[in-house]
């Protein structure tokens, strides 16, 4: 009985089956959601794009700072399709946004380098860019 109790977490860990869907349609494609749920935990880890390490001089730890680094714009500055591309994100055009190519490792170093993002999260970032990469 005690052994079973001690090994219960193992059984639970194994019992968790693959779940979920490929469509992130009902998740907010706003910058604050994308930053909180994808960019901050995956990119702004202490040894990478944190304030301390700032690998490649990129500090992605705060929403406004990360927005400025990625888009080349100050949060609140109006942007939209037709705005000139800057830095890693071309608002309205994920196909011209370097960030997407880096997340997929297409022709550029893959980021994050150790554990790449799953496709469904990259698509959420694409949705944010496609909708104008606004800072909201």
């Amino acid at each position: 009985m005690s052994t079973a109790l001690a090994l219960a977490p193992a059984a639970l860990a194994l019992a968790v089956v693959a779940a979920g869907c490929d469509d992130a349609g009902d998740r907010p494609s706003s910058w604050t959601y994308v930053h909180t749920t994808i960019i901050a935990p995956a990119c702004a880890t202490a040894g990478c794009h944190s304030t301390l390490a700032a690998a490649a001089s990129l500090d992605l730890s705060s929403p406004n700072g990360a927005y400025a680094f990625l888009t080349g714009r100050v949060c609140g500055e109006p942007v939209g399709p037709g705005s000139p591309p800057r830095n890693y994100v071309d608002p309205g055009s994920p196909e011209f946004s370097q960030l997407i190519y880096q997340l997929r490792g297409e022709g550029r170093d893959q980021m994050p380098p150790d554990v790449p993002l799953p496709e469904v999260e990259i698509r959420l970032v694409e949705s944010w860019i496609l909708e104008g990469a606004r800072c909201d």
């Binding site: 005690s2 052994t3 109790l5 001690a6 090994l7 219960a8 977490p9 193992a10 639970l12 860990a13 194994l14 968790v16 693959a18 779940a19 979920g20 869907c21 490929d22 992130a24 998740r27 907010p28 706003s30 604050t32 959601y33 930053h35 909180t36 749920t37 901050a40 935990p41 880890t45 202490a46 040894g47 944190s50 304030t51 301390l52 390490a53 700032a54 690998a55 490649a56 730890s61 929403p63 490792g105 893959q110 380098p113 150790d114 554990v115 790449p116 993002l117 799953p118 496709e119 469904v120 999260e121």
Partner: protein, 372 residues
């Protein structure tokens, strides 16, 4: 078939990342020590070893030698505990047809603790490692992951400063998903106030923490919170079960976590099983949307002979249980302690994202570790 190929490739020798920070949880229960603090100064393990820990390092864990400071050539006064860790690593990363090798210093750290009348002053400082260039100037790589003051009396301790909560399995591998994705990555030690108690088969810990008070003090969590854990050892201290919970809040989100940790040492077979599963609810404040998350780990370690351990592990992180956004990893590692103070660690990991097992990535790492 492809999964078989993945496992075969891992077996063939690819390796992955392990790195400094916490203790080796695989030594709990297996070496006659049931609590971290039997061998370490810290109640959570990791860092400085006490006299018993150094004795075990030579007598039980490695294939021989003197585990004392500087191999016993010099002994500090009784009130002073000294130590340090030097780690170097070489890795090869493979995704698709691309190979990326790297060699880098992983850890250069010295630690000291002054102890007396129940008080401990602890300081660890060093140069943080980095696998990728360009590296910042040396002065910007100086960091102190732990510095705290602790008071102990009988079975109770109170400590304040910078250190990890006693929480979860506390693997030495900071890339373990139950560490990395739950906010216990390297250099993410929070500032806080903790208290704990141990008595008989029980121990319990509580830790309140806040964001780092001064930016200069380095990275750390941006949230404040409370983490609690209780563990009970069973079966003549060959098994343990722990329950834990954590509540945190930051400007961006609020998270509530509950988890279970289990450990079982099958002495006759020389087999240790470690497992952890955590479920977390995250609420994103700006959008008032929420999601459930899950992190789990299952590891098995076989003691092949004294100083030689073979391990395997499964990691899973699901940042959003409603989406196909999981990260899975399978790893094998070989840990060799030829003499006290020396460790060679070869560890291989295959990882996949979003349940896509067809195109796994591989990361390999050979780590050489010397502690003072």
């Amino acid at each position: 078939m492809r999964l078989t190929l993945v496992i075969a490739l891992v077996l063939a020798g690819v390796a992955a990342v392990a790195a400094p920070a916490a203790a080796y949880p695989r030594f709990q229960l297996t070496t006659g020590a049931s609590r971290c603090q039997e061998c370490h100064v810290s109640p959570g393990g990791g860092g400085l070893l006490d006299d018993y820990g150094r004795l075990e390092a030579g007598d039980t864990i490695s294939r021989g030698g003197d585990g004392a400071l500087l191999h016993g050539r010099w002994s500090p006064p009784g009130w002073l505990v000294l130590g340090g860790d030097l780690r170097g690593a070489g890795l090869i990363k493979r995704r698709g047809d691309e190979l990326e090798p790297a060699v880098f210093p992983m850890q250069v750290e010295l630690a000291a603790a002054a102890r007396g009348r129940g008080l401990t002053l602890y300081l660890a400082a060093g140069i943080r490692g980095g696998a990728r260039d360009p590296q910042p100037p040396l002065v910007e790589r100086l960091a102190s992951r732990e510095h705290y003051v602790m008071y102990e009396r009988d079975a109770i301790y109170v400590r304040a400063g910078r250190f990890f909560p006693v929480f979860g399995i506390r693997s030495q591998d900071h890339t373990a998903y139950v560490r990395r994705f739950l906010g216990f990555g390297t250099l993410e030690e929070p500032y806080g106030l903790a208290a704990g108690w141990s008595g008989g088969p029980w121990e319990a810990h509580a830790h309140g923490y806040v964001p780092r008070p001064i930016a200069f003090l380095g990275a750390g969590p941006k949230d404040k919170g409370l983490a609690v854990m209780a563990e009970r050892r069973l079966l003549e201290e060959t098994a343990a079960i722990g329950l834990q919970a954590r509540m945190t809040t930051s400007a961006a989100d609020r998270r509530v976590l509950a988890g279970v940790v289990g450990k079982r040492w099958f002495e006759r077979a020389g087999l240790l099983v470690l497992a952890e599963i955590d479920v977390q609810h995250q609420m994103v404040k700006s959008t008032e949307s929420s999601r459930w998350q899950l992190a789990s780990y299952l590891g098995v370690t076989q003691t092949l002979s004294r100083g030689l351990l073979l391990g395997g592990g499964l990691h899973r992180w699901q940042p959003d249980l409603g989406l196909r956004s999981s990260r899975d990893a399978f790893e094998l590692d070989l840990q060799y302690f030829p003499r006290a103070h020396l460790e060679v660690h070869l560890l291989g990991r295959a990882s996949a994202q979003g349940n896509d097992l067809d195109g796994p990535g591989f990361l390999s790492l050979l780590q050489l570790h010397y502690y003072l």
